[in-house]
Structures are given as structure tokens and as C-alpha cells.
């Protein structure tokens, strides 16, 4: 047995590590990775939840592609679901009805996919709040932040396309609204939409394969690549930390190593996220498309609400008063532009430029590894809360029709109220938040000085007794 290592004497872990190192030369990297430090705070897990929801989305989405048909060719339904029998519908819609009714486990996977999309976006948004209000985007992490905001934007479009592909009544209504927002872009809107849809709405048969490949290949790959860049940048510069212990500083990070400490925690979160998503997918109905029926341009339904992450846009579209900006017969800005395009562009513009706006305001050019609490930076907290509450109030305004049905409050008066309140409300909130931050700071300072004074007094007392 010459030349063959003594297998009995060498345990499997060592054998595997040696095998890998000899062939990939990665032992130094692997060792570093195993002992990479993760600072501990519950809010640092939000980004992880988004990552795991994305994994569930890719897994369930892949399964769905085996059964989905990307065609708007009209067919007559003869399947087992009686209420839809003999109805005209697109092949796309029919295939999703089949996934939901005849494909075994199809409904579980489809509903899990939909739940995962909702939770994916919710986790991203909460993660963004954490990053914003703790100042984690500051130098040297602006690029990480920019990649994150871009992922949020792409994910919104990705989710919107997935929702549209089904071609049920609600998704069709969503798609034509998106088309109208596209049309409303000044100067180029008409041309752009005609190009993208291959003619005026509802466009040609080529639209569906186009949207499909964007939803299942182009956008997931883009999001995946940005995700890789995002995580790489986090790893290269290490994670930020809250200062809780003396050993934590701008120069030193305190954390749990990836292995053994962090690995089971993160894996636990992965399985936990996936478990909850599959429980939701199995037990809580979402988007029962067989009830909505197939989409036709000439049909619509009352009381329709989009998935939560598009609620701010429907609110924006509903709040704008009746006008198109017209100059001598040329429609410069059609109405949907304000609520559907300008509003989200403004919000994303704010997010993209905020790190630089803040730097301009403070003149702060230094590196930051230690996070701030919202109270530590009242101005940022106030401005951030202004934007958040502004978007949130527009979101709530989008549900005025439901409030009308449930509480019998006049729809028109509600809209008029919101047209004013979305400006007043955030201003009040921002002002109050600013004052609260200042007060918290002051009370902390008092407490700190009190502690110091007490310590001094104790010391003096000890010295006296010694003397």
C-alpha cells in the first residue's frame, strides 16, 4: 500500500480538507471564512430573510416553469373546474388554473411562490429601513447600499411581471395600468410602449414570451448578480455594528464567527423562513385566480387591490386631480405620470442620492463602522420618517375604496382629505420625531452625568474614609 495515505488513521474531516486544499488551494480562504465575524443584532437578520425568501422564490419558480404556458392564444376551457368551463381564456391563464387544480402539489408551490414574493419585498423594505435609520449606508458602504436599492427596484418590477403573467382579471388590470404609466412618459411614452408591447395594448402574441423570459431569466439573473455583489461588498468591508460593548469601535469588530457560531443560526433562519413560507402556501389562500376569471380588456372588477408592495402606486395614481398637462394640443404629461412614474422615481431618487445629500449637509467625509441609533441623528430620522410616512399615507389612500365599503365614509371626501394630509401628516410626524430624538438625547446625557457625579461622590467618600 505504498503512496496511499492511511485512511484509518486520518479522520474524514481532515481528509476532505486536505483533498480540497490540494486541488483548489483554498485552505487559507476557507479558514478565514470559517472565522469571519458576524456582529449580533436582530435587525441584521432582515436582509438574510430576504435572501432566503429569494431562494424559495427561485426554487418554487423553477418548478412552476415546468407547467406554465407563456401564450395569450385564446382557448376554450374544458378542465375540471366547473365555474370556468366553456369560457374563453388565454393559454397562460388556463395553465395557471391547471397548476392550481390538476397538477399535484401545484397549488402549494404556486401559493408559496406568491407568499414568498410578498415576504421577500417586505424583508427588503424592512432591511432598507434598518440600513437607513442606522446610517449603515455611510462611507465606506455607499456601493453596497446602491446595489441594495437597485435590487429593490428590480424586485418590484420582477414581482409585477410575475403577477401579470398569470393573465387573470386582476393581473390584466394591473398590466394595462402599467402600460398607461409607460404611455404617460413625456415625449417617448407612446413610442416606447408601442415598441415594447408590439403595437398598442394589448399588443401582439410576442409580448407574453417576452415578459416570461424577463421574469424567469433576465431579472432573476440581474437580481442574483447584484445580490452577489452586495454580499461580496459586505464581506470585504465587514458588517457594521452597534456599539454595545467597550471592545467595539470604529476600528474593531466584535462578533460571532461564521463557524461554529453563526452557521447554525443562519441555517436555522433559512429553514425557518422556508418553513413559514410553505406553511403559508399550504394553509393560507393567496390570489385565488380561478375566482377572478380570465382577463379581457373590456372586463374589470370593483374593489380590486394589488399586492401590498404596489399599493403606494395605486394610491399615487388615485390621488392626482384630473388633468393632463397639454400645450397646444400636444399632451406633454398625461395624468398617470405623476402617481405612477414621478412618485416612485422621486422616492428612488431620494434613496439613491441620500448618502451624498447627507454628506453635503454634514460635510462628514470620515469612515463609519459603528452604527447610529435613530436618536443619535435627529435630522436623518426626521427626514427619513417624512419620506416613509409620505409613502405610507399614499399607500393608505389607495385603500380608500375599501374604507368606503367597510365604514361608509364618502370616497371623494377621503381623497380630498388625503390630497392635503399626505403633505401635512409627514411634516407633523417629522417634527415630532425630531423633538423626541432631541429629548431622548438630553435625558441620556442627564443620566450619564448623574452616573458620573455619583461615581465621583462615591470615590470622594472612599478617599475621605481612607484619610
Amino acid at each position: 500500500m505504498v503512496g496511499i495515505p492511511d485512511l484509518e488513521a486520518e479522520p474524514v474531516i481532515r481528509r476532505t480538507v486536505r483533498f480540497l486544499d490540494e486541488r483548489t488551494a483554498t485552505a487559507p480562504l476557507l479558514r478565514k471564512t470559517l472565522r469571519y465575524l458576524f456582529p449580533d443584532h436582530w435587525s441584521f437578520l432582515l436582509g438574510e430573510v430576504a435572501l432566503y425568501a429569494f431562494m424559495v422564490l427561485v426554487a418554487t419558480g423553477t418548478y412552476l416553469t415546468f407547467f406554465f404556458v407563456d401564450s395569450t392564444k385564446q382557448v376554450v376551457y374544458h378542465g375540471p373546474y366547473a365555474p370556468l368551463r366553456d369560457q374563453h381564456m388565454s393559454e397562460a391563464y388556463q395553465s395557471v388554473v391547471n397548476i392550481s387544480t390538476t397538477v399535484k402539489a401545484g397549488l402549494l408551490i404556486r401559493q408559496t411562490h406568491h407568499w414568498a414574493a410578498n415576504i421577500f419585498l417586505a424583508a427588503i423594505v424592512l432591511h432598507l429601513f434598518r440600513v437607513f435609520f442606522s446610517g449603515a449606508y455611510r462611507k465606506p458602504r455607499e456601493l453596497t447600499y446602491i446595489l441594495g436599492v437597485t435590487m429593490l427596484m428590480l424586485s418590484l418590477l420582477e414581482a409585477y411581471m410575475g403577477y401579470s403573467l398569470v393573465d387573470d382579471l386582476l393581473s390584466g388590470m394591473g398590466l394595462v395600468i402599467g402600460y398607461s404609466v409607460g404611455l404617460s412618459l413625456p415625449f417617448v411614452g407612446g413610442n416606447l410602449m408601442e415598441w415594447l408591447f408590439h403595437g398598442p395594448y394589448p399588443g401582439q402574441a410576442s409580448l407574453w414570451p417576452r415578459m416570461y423570459i424577463a421574469h424567469v431569466l433576465i431579472f432573476p439573473i440581474l437580481i442574483g448578480m447584484l445580490l452577489g455583489g452586495h454580499l461580496l461588498l459586505v464581506a470585504m468591508k465587514h458588517h457594521t455594528q452597534f456599539k454595545k460593548k467597550r471592545s467595539q469601535s470604529e476600528n474593531a469588530i466584535l462578533g460571532v464567527p461564521a463557524f461554529p457560531g453563526q452557521a447554525p443560526r443562519s441555517l436555522g433562519l433559512l429553514f425557518g423562513t422556508a418553513g413559514i413560507l410553505f406553511l403559508l402556501g399550504g394553509l393560507v389562500q393567496i390570489n385565488p385566480i380561478w375566482l377572478w376569471g380570465p382577463y379581457h380588456t373590456y372586463s374589470s372588477t370593483n374593489g380590486a387591490q394589488p399586492d401590498w408592495y404596489l399599493g403606494w402606486l395605486i394610491g399615487g395614481l388615485r390621488l392626482v386631480p384630473s388633468f393632463d398637462l397639454v400645450i397646444d394640443g400636444y399632451t406633454l404629461v398625461p395624468n398617470p405620470f405623476w402617481g405612477g412614474a414621478a412618485f416612485p422615481l422621486l422616492v428612488f431618487g431620494f434613496l439613491y442620492f441620500w448618502p451624498w445629500i447627507e454628506r453635503r449637509l454634514t460635510g462628514d467625509q470620515s469612515f463609519h463602522n459603528v452604527l447610529e441609533r435613530p436618536r443619535d441623528n435627529p435630522r436623518r430620522t426626521a427626514i427619513g420618517l417624512w419620506v416613509v410616512s409620505w409613502v405610507f399615507l399614499v399607500f393608505v389612500a389607495g385603500a380608500s375604496d375599501r374604507v368606503n365599503v367597510m365604514f361608509d365614509l364618502s370616497y371623494t371626501s377621503q381623497i380630498w382629505f388625503y390630497r392635503v394630509f399626505i403633505w401635512v401628516g409627514p411634516t407633523i410626524i417629522a417634527f415630532v420625531a425630531y423633538r423626541v430624538c432631541k429629548e431622548l438625547q438630553a435625558s441620556e446625557k442627564t443620566k450619564h452625568e448623574q452616573h458620573k457625579a455619583e461615581a465621583r461622590a462615591r470615590l470622594a467618600a472612599i478617599q475621605r474614609t481612607e484619610a
Partner: protein, 333 residues
């Protein structure tokens, strides 16, 4: 069976005994030593086996067609399987392994020497070039135009400049109005306080999806009509026809607020459920409320000798959501 049991026991013993195989001096350890926690360990092991049980249950449920609530059971078994693994891992993290809190310096803010070296390499590599600006311009020109050439085929997606397509509608003078089954409407079919969808006669199903095809029909008392002068005669004895597509965001107008709605909204109105643009059917489709920036296009109607409703021409304005050309051209009569 006993063999299976033996091997499970053996496996568990091996699993439990792993740490003890190679006794080491604690001082030499990288990961600090902690006392065993048999209780937590039992829980983790039980949870892993419960997860395995759930996974098997998922397969069994999948295989048995006759089970009621198939989707719920599938979700329950798979969800519980994943959650048990999660719980086992979290017990492992908190009770069975050491949670070290280590301190390490952050990576340096910058590497000035490396930066200098990179800059030097790039600068010195270009030493031999004498017309640097022109050289760069050449690269930019080649790169830019190549990029442009690469995306040019995307123009095949659809027409980009021929905006006349927006103006097409299937309505012509004399075309009859039919319902969704293809049955022609008679003027007497249209009752007050009711709402009808109409299409042009004899068009294929696919063409009904064109935004210019569908109409809403309502009957109003003739004396309540307030049509502007240019739309005089568009109604057929109080029956008015409008495009069913909202001029705001293209949804179908599927709500008709009949005058029963007292007292604050007394007038009849056509409402789009997407953003609640509200149009007045009595005065040619003007916007009463909501975001729409353009009135609803109206189709002129007539009643033929047999009492059937016919189009008297095309719409008085462009159908569908607005774009830059919406007010420049009008549909062909």
C-alpha cells in the same frame, strides 16, 4: 427490525461520541470547550427525526390522491419539516456549540501603496502612446457604436415610430352594435338605469380585445342630456355610447352609478374601478371626479329602420389612456 434499531443506536452513539475521539489539551484548542448539555442534545436529535418523519409524510400525502385537503396537508408536512430543522439548528446554535464573541480589526480604510502601484502600472503602460486623447476617442467611438449596434436588433420588438396604430378602431359608419354573444342590440333592449357592453358586429374574438372595440351603452332621459354643440345628435333617442376604456389608465369602465344614489351624488356617472375616474354620460363624457385627464370618447349612434343600433361614425376622440399624441389626431370618421 432489531438490526435497524442496532444501527440507529450505533449511529447515535457514534454521533454523541464524536467529540471524545481525539482528546486534546484544552489549551491547544481553537474553539473553547464547554460542558455537554444532554437535555438540549436530546431535543435537537428528536427534532431532526421529527423533520424526517414530516418529510416522509409529505411524500405519503403526495402519493395518496384520495386525501381531502391535499394542498393543506402538503404545506403542513413540508412546513413542519422545515420548521423542525430550523428549531433543531437554533437549539444547536444556542445550547450545543460555543458562542464565541471575538474581536478583530476592521479591514484597513485604504491601501495607499497598492493604490499607488495600480496607478503607476496603468500610467506607465501607456507611455508609448503619443496621441493619447485621439487614442481614447477611438476606443470610445468603437465601444460606443458597438454597444449601439448590439442593441439595434431590439428595435425588432415592435414599431417605434408609427404611432398611427394608436388611432385604429373597428368602428365604421353603419356597423351594428352587438352584445358579447354577437346578438345585435335593438334600441328597445336598452333600459334606463342599466348598463350594457357592446362590440362591433362580426369581428373575431381576438379583435374584441382591441381598446377601440368595446362600448358602454346607457339610456338617459332625453331632457337630461347636455351634449355640447359638436356632439349634438350623437345620442339615439337618449341612448349614449362611450368607449369602455378609461382615458386614465386603460381599465374597463364597469361601474354605472345610477341616479338612485341620493343625496350627495345625484347625477348618473360611469366609473372606472381602478382609480375611480368618474365620467358624466349626459354631457359627452366629461370628467366629474378622479384622475382622468381627458373626457371619455363618444361614439355617434343611430337607429335603423328595423330598430337596431348602428354606429354613425367613429369616436370623437382617441380611445384609451393618454400619450403625447392623444389630442393631435382624431380617429378617421
Amino acid at each position: 427490525m432489531s438490526k435497524v434499531r442496532d444501527s440507529i443506536v450505533a449511529g447515535l452513539v457514534l454521533l454523541a461520541g464524536r467529540g471524545r475521539r481525539k482528546p486534546r489539551k484544552d489549551a491547544l484548542r481553537t474553539v473553547p470547550k464547554l460542558d455537554p448539555n444532554p437535555g438540549a442534545e436530546t431535543w435537537a436529535i428528536l427534532l431532526f427525526f421529527f423533520a424526517a418523519l414530516c418529510a416522509v409524510a409529505f411524500i405519503v400525502v403526495y402519493a395518496i390522491d384520495s386525501l381531502p385537503r391535499h394542498t393543506q396537508l402538503l404545506g403542513l408536512s413540508l412546513g413542519l419539516c422545515l420548521l423542525s430543522i430550523a428549531a433543531a439548528l437554533i437549539i444547536t446554535a444556542h445550547k450545543l456549540i460555543v458562542t464565541e464573541e471575538l474581536v478583530e480589526p476592521y479591514s484597513p480604510e485604504e491601501h495607499p501603496n497598492e493604490q499607488e502601484l495600480i496607478a503607476q502600472v496603468v500610467e506607465e503602460s501607456g507611455d508609448r502612446l503619443t496621441r493619447k486623447r485621439l487614442f481614447k476617442l477611438g476606443i470610445a467611438a468603437a465601444g460606443g457604436t458597438l454597444g449601439l449596434a448590439a442593441i439595434t436588433p431590439a428595435l425588432s420588438f415592435g414599431p417605434f415610430l408609427e404611432t398611427r396604430y394608436f388611432l385604429g378602431t373597428p368602428w365604421r359608419k353603419g356597423r351594428r352594435l352587438v352584445d358579447d354573444k354577437g346578438k345585435p342590440y335593438k334600441a328597445t333592449d336598452i333600459e334606463a338605469d342599466n348598463f350594457y357592453t357592446a362590440f362591433p358586429e362580426r369581428i373575431p374574438d381576438q379583435d374584441k380585445e382591441e381598446l377601440g372595440a368595446a362600448l358602454v351603452l346607457v339610456r338617459l332621459p332625453v331632457d337630461s342630456l347636455r351634449l355640447p354643440p359638436e356632439l349634438k345628435g350623437y345620442d339615439a333617442g337618449g341612448i349614449v355610447a362611450y368607449s369602455k376604456i378609461c382615458t386614465h389608465a386603460g381599465c374597463a369602465i364597469s361601474l354605472y352609478r345610477a341616479p338612485l344614489f341620493q343625496p350627495d351624488e345625484p347625477r348618473p356617472a360611469l366609473v372606472c374601478p381602478c382609480h375611480y375616474s368618474t365620467f358624466n354620460p349626459a354631457d359627452g363624457g366629461s370628467v366629474m371626479f378622479g384622475p382622468a385627464g381627458r373626457k371619455l370618447p363618444m361614439l355617434p349612434l343611430s337607429v335603423d329602420a328595423k330598430g337596431f343600433l348602428r354606429a354613425k361614425g367613429n369616436f370623437d376622440g382617441e380611445v384609451g389612456p393618454s400619450w403625447w399624441g392623444s389630442r393631435i389626431w382624431k380617429p378617421n370618421p
